[in-house]
């Protein structure tokens, strides 16, 4: 048996939505280099819809695959749906992860949450202007 599912390897080898959104209105970064995983998510949200999402990840195969899958799961979705993204959904969409790699999917969930929180804070700040 291989370490990772075919799905994980597919998203690792051909990660979707890799890169940076220059005019992103929600950016989140979680993890730290000391532990060996950092994920950065860029969101472009218009009319409460996630029009575009991109990521950058420093980490292992499952960290890259989890980031990729998480972006796929929220792209084009309403912000309210994205807020509900769980690590479980990411893991299931990847056909599972080895137990000691589950934290990678948690990190993906947290990266999305962090980017969404950034979006809301920016929105709030704008509203106060």
């Amino acid at each position: 048996m291989a370490l990772y599912s075919e799905k994980v390897m597919d998203h690792f080898r051909n990660p979707r939505n890799v890169g940076v959104i220059e005019d992103a209105n929600g950016i989140g970064e979680v993890g730290n280099a000391k532990c060996g995983d950092i994920m950065k998510m860029y969101l472009k949200i218009e009319d409460d819809i996630i029009k575009d999402v991109k990521f950058e990840t420093f980490g292992c195969g499952s960290a890259i695959a989890s980031s990729s899958m998480a972006t796929e799961l929220i792209k084009g979705k309403p912000v309210a749906d994205a807020m509900k993204l769980t690590n479980k959904a990411v893991t299931e969409a990847l056909d599972g992860l080895p137990a000691y790699k589950l934290h990678c999917s948690v990190l993906a969930e947290e990266a999305i949450q962090s980017a969404l929180n950034d979006y809301y804070s920016r929105k709030e700040a704008e509203g106060q202007k």
């Binding site: 690792f12 080898r13 970064e29 060996g36 950092i38 990840t57 195969g61 960290a63 790699k101």
Partner: protein, 394 residues
């Protein structure tokens, strides 16, 4: 496919496979029995003991066959500790970058009240003999220093340490798992009292190894039972495995010089090629290392991703990243040579084998360079380094 993980395990040699099969087929008797097929097995066993002993300059009755390097390490250390305990000597000197078979045994002894000194291995991954001398106390019952490191391949000044230990009257053990069959070892020249080795690191079978214990060394049993191995290691001997190990070791010892002469320039060709990758660094001393070992750190990337993408390109290697070990911390060896966590996660160990060609070496260099560049292209760590938001370490 380029198999570059020979420090993890090696492919069995054809002669060793033939021996393994032949003994299984023809000499399957239990060496402890008195009828002819049992006595033939006993003969095979003792012949193997003679061969192994001859390679390291030992006497046959100083060789104890074990299940591998870990068991030999455990038995050597536990034996010295038990001998020390009896005379009130409960201090052991070792190094920070030993294999876990040594480190975890020492940790167990620490919990039992032993005092353990782990010597610094410095940035080049080499122990300074005078520091061993300084660490030895009146109550030191053992010095254990590995022959060559399993991750960074650095070769330790074993002869000098042996000299010091002999002068101080302290038993000296070396974990020679990575060195055996790759560099010349003579236990008398080096003044080694105990030595561990494992067959599968020199093209022998897995699950077999040996402990050399100088005559007069009192050994403690780890496995109780029958009287095999002069009562020091119970259990019916793995005769086919032991015989195949002896064949593999003789073969490795015979080819040692030729292979080292061939491998060293190829190793250096790879090191030279990888040194052209910006913000990277060789781990361990450039000269005093095993002829087949290359270990590099690349800033801004993580090792497991690197390994998976190299595997896609037909290159099998290993890494000291946390993700490849299943723990949160990267390799203790890389931390011991002062690599910080951030950089240690991006390490690559290539342990090349005798059949490697210059073309393979160039392919390895170009593949690693491409994969590192690709992984950096979407690494937030690399972005921060490039934009000046954080500072390069390498």
């Amino acid at each position: 496919m380029i198999y570059a993980d020979n420090a993890a395990t090696t492919k069995m040699s054809e002669a060793a496979i033939r021996e393994l099969v032949a003994v299984n087929e023809n000499t399957y008797g239990n060496p402890s029995t008195l009828y002819s097929i049992g006595q033939s097995a006993k003969e095979v066993l003792e012949k193997a003991r003679e061969k192994v002993a001859a390679v390291i300059g030992a006497e046959p009755n100083e060789i104890y066959f074990t299940s591998g390097g870990s068991e030999a390490d455990n038995q050597a250390i536990i034996s010295a500790a038990e001998n020390g305990r009896k005379s009130g000597k409960m201090h052991i000197v070792s190094t920070a970058f030993e294999h876990h078979a040594v480190l975890n045994t020492l940790e167990k002894l620490r919990k039992e009240g032993f005092d353990i000194t782990l010597l610094d291995v410095h940035e080049n991954g080499i122990v300074i003999p005078s520091e061993v001398e300084d660490a030895i106390r009146d109550d030191t019952c053992l010095v254990t220093v590995m022959f060559a490191n399993n991750e960074i391949g650095t070769i330790q000044p074993i002869g000098e340490i042996g000299e010091i230990c002999r002068r101080e009257g302290v038993p000296f053990h070396t974990d020679a798992v990575q060195a055996m069959g790759h560099i010349a070892i003579d236990v008398n020249d080096l003044k080694v009292d105990m030595l561990s080795a494992s067959a599968h690191k020199f093209h022998g079978p897995k699950g077999v190894g040996f402990l050399y214990a100088r005559k007069g060394t009192r050994l403690t049993n780890l496995i109780e039972g029958g009287e095999q191995e002069r009562g020091k290691r119970a259990g019916t001997e793995n005769v086919p495995g032991i015989a195949a190990m002896a064949v593999a070791l003789e073969e490795a010892a015979g080819n040692m010089r030729e292979y080292a002469d061939r491998l060293t320039p190829i190793r250096d060709r790879i090191i030279d090629g990888l040194s052209r990758i910006p913000h990277s660094a060789l781990n361990g001393d450039a000269g005093r290392r095993l002829p087949g070992n290359i270990n590099y750190c690349f800033e801004g990337i993580e090792g497991e991703s690197l390994l998976l993408l190299l595997d896609d390109r037909g290159i099998q290697a290993s890494s000291g990243s946390a993700c490849t070990s299943g723990s949160l911390d990267p390799s203790h060896v890389l931390l011991a040579i002062c690599r910080v966590h951030d950089v240690a996660h991006g390490s690559l160990r290539l342990s090349i084998g005798e059949d490697i060609t210059e073309e393979d070496a160039d392919y390895i260099v170009s593949s690693v360079s491409e994969v590192v560049e690709y992984l950096r292209s979407f690494s937030p760590v690399w972005r921060d380094l490039m934009s000046g938001k954080s500072q390069f370490i390498l």
